[in-house]
Amino acid sequence: MDIQFFIELFFGGLTRGSIYALIALGYTLVYGIIELINFAHGEIYMLGAFTALLVAGVLGVYGFPVGGILIVAALAAVIWCAAYGYTLEKVAYKPLRGAPRLSPLISAIGMSIFLQNYVLLAQTSDFVPFPRLLPEMEFLEYVNYVMGPSDFLILLVSTLAMVSLSLFIRYTRMGKAMRATAQNRKMALLLGINADRIISLTFIIGSGLAALGGVLIASHMGQVNFGIGFLAGLKAFTAAVLGGIGSIPGAMVGGLVLGLAESFTTGYFSGNYEDILAFGILILILIFRPDGILGKAKVQKV
C-alpha cells in the first residue's frame, strides 16, 4: 500500500513538474539571452489558457468536430501567445536595453499587472469552465490510479516540447545563434548575428511553450481565471532558479524536482505548506546556490 501511495504521489509530482518545467523554459531562455526576469511570463501562460478557451468555445458553437477542437485551440493559443510575447518584448523591454538592470524588471512587473487586469476587464473575474475535449484513453485504465488522460497528455506533450526545443537549440542555425548570443552578445553581433531577431525569437519560443502549458493545465483542471498566472509563474520561476537559470536542462530538472517536492510534501506532511515550501526553496537556493543545480557559477564583471 505504501509503495502504491509513493508511486501515486510520484506521478502527481511528475504532472505538476512537467508543467512547471514547460513554463520555466520561457524564463530560462529569456534570462539566458538578456538576463531579464520576464515577470510577465506567467501572464502569458494565463493568456494561453484563455485564448484556447475562447477559440474552443467559438469552434464548439459553430459545430467544429470535437476531436479537432483541442488541437486547433492549442495551436491558436500558441500562435497568439507567441505574438503576445513578441509584442511584450517590443513594447516593454526593447526600449529599455542598456537601461539600469532594475528598469526592465520594474517594467516587467508593470506588464504582469497590466495583462492580468486586461483579461479581467475584457473578459471576466469569474472562473470559467474549460470545455472537456480530451478523449477517454482506454489503455490508461490499468494505471488509472496514477494517471488520467490529462496527466498522460501533459507528460507526453511536455516531453516532446522539451526534446524538440533541445534539438532545435543544439542543431539548427537559429538555435546556434541563440546559444552564441547567450554566451556573448557582443561577440555574436560581430559575427553577424542579429541580436534583436534572436531576442524576439526567444520570446516567441518561450511564450509558445507557456501557452502550451496553459492549455494543458486548463484542460487538466477544467477551469480558467485571470489570476492563475501569478502563482504558476512564480513556481515556474522557482523551478528555473532551482535548476540553474539560463540552463535549459536545468529548467527541466528544476521543474521536476519542485513538482515532486511539492507532491511529497502534501502527501506526507500537509497541503498547508505546499507554497511555503516552494518559496522557501526559492529563497534558500538564491541565497546559498544562486546558480542552481545545473547552472555554472558566474563571475561578476566590473
Binding site: S107, Y118, V119, I283
Partner: protein
C-alpha cells in the same frame, strides 16, 4: 507620413493580437458567442493614437529633447518663480494650513480617505529609502507592513497593550524582520534580491494565514481599538480626526527624517550604493552596514504604518498584505521618482486619491498602475520629479564663493 503608416500597421497588429480576448465574449452556460468587433475597432483607434504619440515621444527621446516643451519664456519664468524663497515658504505655509484645517472643514469621509492616502505616502517614502536611495529593489515590502499591523493586533489581543505601547514595538519588530531578511541577501544582485524579497513577503503572508492558533488565520483579528488620547472617550468623528493628525504628524516626521537622511553620511552612502556597488565598495564604504541600514530604515516606516493601519481599520487579515499591495507601493515610488521625496508624496496622493474621487476610473485602477510602471520606466525613469542630489563644488577650484547648492 511614414509615421502614420507605421501607426496604422501597429494598430492592425494590436487589433489582431487582442482579437480573441477582447473580441470574443463567450457565454459558457448557454453556449453562445458574442462578437465584440466594436471593442476591437475602438482599441484599434486608441492604439493608432497611442502609436503616433509613442513614436513622437521616442523621436524626442532619441534627440535628447524633453517630452514637453514649455512655451518660450515660461521655463525661465517658472524657474525664476520657484527660485524665490518667499514663494516657496508661502506655498508651503498654505499647504500646511490646508492640511491642518482639512479634517475640520471637510466631511468625515474626506478625512478618512486622506488618512489612507497619507498612510500610503508613509509607506511609499519608506520604500523609497530602500528602492529609491539605496537602489535595492524590494518586492516584499508589504511583509513589514503586515508585521507592524499584526504586532499591534496580537499584542492587543493577548496582552491588552494599547496603541502607543505598540507603535514603537511594531517599528522595532519590523526592523528586526528587515534585518533578518537583510543579512542573508547581502550578497545578492539586484534582480535576485527582488525575487527573494518577493518570496519573503509571500512566506510572511502564508505564515499569517496558516498559523491559526496565533494569528487567527484567515479569520484575522477584529475589534482592534483606535488610538487613545490620555484615556479620553472619543466618538467616531473625533477619533478619525485624531488619527488624521497622528498620520499627518507621522508623515511630516518621515519627510523631515528622510530629507535629513538623504544628505547625511548614511544617505550619501546609500546613493553611492545605488549608483555602483563595486565602486562604492572600492571607495571604502562598508556595504554590509549600508545595506542593512537601508533595510532597517525602510522596514521601520512600514512597521509604523502597519500599526497605524491596524488602528485605523480596526480589523486585519492576511488578504490585506498581498503582493499586489507591494506592487502598488512600488509603482508610487516609480511614478514619483526614485529618491525624490516630493515626487513620491505627490505620486502616492494621486494614485490613492484619484480612484477614490473618480469612481468611474476605479475599475481601471490596477490596469493603470501596471501601465504607469512600464511607461515611466521607458520615458521617464527618473519619475515625475527626479530626486535631485546635492552637489558639492570645491571652492578652491572655483573661486572664493558659492560653495553650496547648485
Amino acid at each position: 507620413m511614414r509615421r502614420i503608416l507605421k501607426a496604422v500597421l501597429t494598430a492592425i497588429w494590436f487589433m489582431a493580437l487582442t482579437l480573441p480576448v477582447m473580441g470574443i465574449k463567450l457565454n459558457t452556460l448557454d453556449q453562445t458567442v458574442q462578437w465584440r468587433f466594436d471593442r476591437i475597432l475602438w482599441l484599434g483607434a486608441g492604439v493608432f493614437a497611442l502609436a503616433v504619440i509613442w513614436d513622437w515621444c521616442f523621436s524626442r527621446k532619441a534627440r535628447g529633447l524633453p517630452l514637453l516643451r514649455l512655451p518660450k519664456g515660461w521655463g525661465a519664468g517658472l524657474r525664476n518663480l520657484s527660485g524665490r524663497p518667499h514663494l516657496k515658504t508661502g506655498g508651503l505655509a498654505i499647504l500646511t494650513l490646508f492640511m491642518l484645517v482639512m479634517p475640520l472643514t471637510s466631511s468625515f469621509y474626506q478625512t478618512n480617505i486622506m488618512i489612507s492616502a497619507l498612510l500610503y505616502v508613509m509607506l511609499a517614502l519608506g520604500l523609497n529609502i530602500v528602492v529609491g536611495l539605496a537602489g535595492q529593489l524590494v518586492l516584499g515590502y508589504v511583509a513589514f507592513y503586515a508585521v507592524g499591523a499584526y504586532a499591534y493586533g496580537l499584542l492587543y489581543q493577548f496582552l491588552g497593550w494599547g496603541f502607543w505601547a505598540c507603535l514603537p514595538v511594531g517599528g522595532i519588530l519590523a526592523v528586526l524582520f528587515g534585518l533578518a531578511l537583510g543579512f542573508p541577501v547581502l550578497r545578492l544582485r539586484g534582480d535576485y534580491l527582488a525575487i527573494v524579497t518577493l518570496g519573503f513577503g509571500e512566506i510572511v503572508r502564508l505564515a499569517l494565514q496558516n498559523w491559526t492558533s496565533l494569528t487567527g488565520g484567515p479569520r484575522g483579528i477584529s475589534d482592534i481599538p483606535r488610538p487613545g488620547f490620555f484615556g479620553l472617550e472619543m466618538d467616531i468623528n473625533a477619533s478619525t480626526t485624531y488619527v488624521y493628525y497622528l498620520v499627518l504628524a507621522a508623515v511630516v516626521i518621515t519627510i523631515i527624517m528622510i530629507s535629513r537622511l538623504k544628505n547625511s553620511r548614511v544617505g550619501l552612502a546609500l546613493q553611492a550604493l545605488r549608483e555602483d556597488e563595486i565602486a562604492c565598495e572600492a571607495m571604502g564604504i562598508d556595504i554590509t552596514r549600508v545595506k542593512l541600514s537601508a533595510f532597517a530604515l525602510g522596514s521601520c516606516w512600514a512597521g509604523f504604518a502597519g500599526v497605524i493601519f491596524a488602528a485605523k481599520t480596526t480589523y486585519i487579515n492576511p488578504s490585506s498584505f498581498t503582493f499586489m499591495e507591494s506592487a502598488m507601493i512600488l509603482s508610487m515610488v516609480v511614478l514619483g521618482g526614485m529618491g525624490s521625496i516630493a515626487g513620491v508624496v505627490i505620486a502616492a496622493m494621486i494614485l490613492i486619491l484619484a480612484p477614490e474621487y473618480l469612481r468611474a476610473f476605479s475599475e481601471y485602477r490596477m490596469l493603470i498602475f501596471g501601465a504607469i510602471m512600464v511607461i515611466m520606466m521607458i520615458f521617464r525613469p527618473q519619475g515625475l520629479i527626479s530626486g535631485e542630489r546635492r552637489r558639492y563644488r570645491i571652492s578652491a577650484l572655483h573661486g572664493a564663493h558659492n560653495g553650496g547648492r547648485a
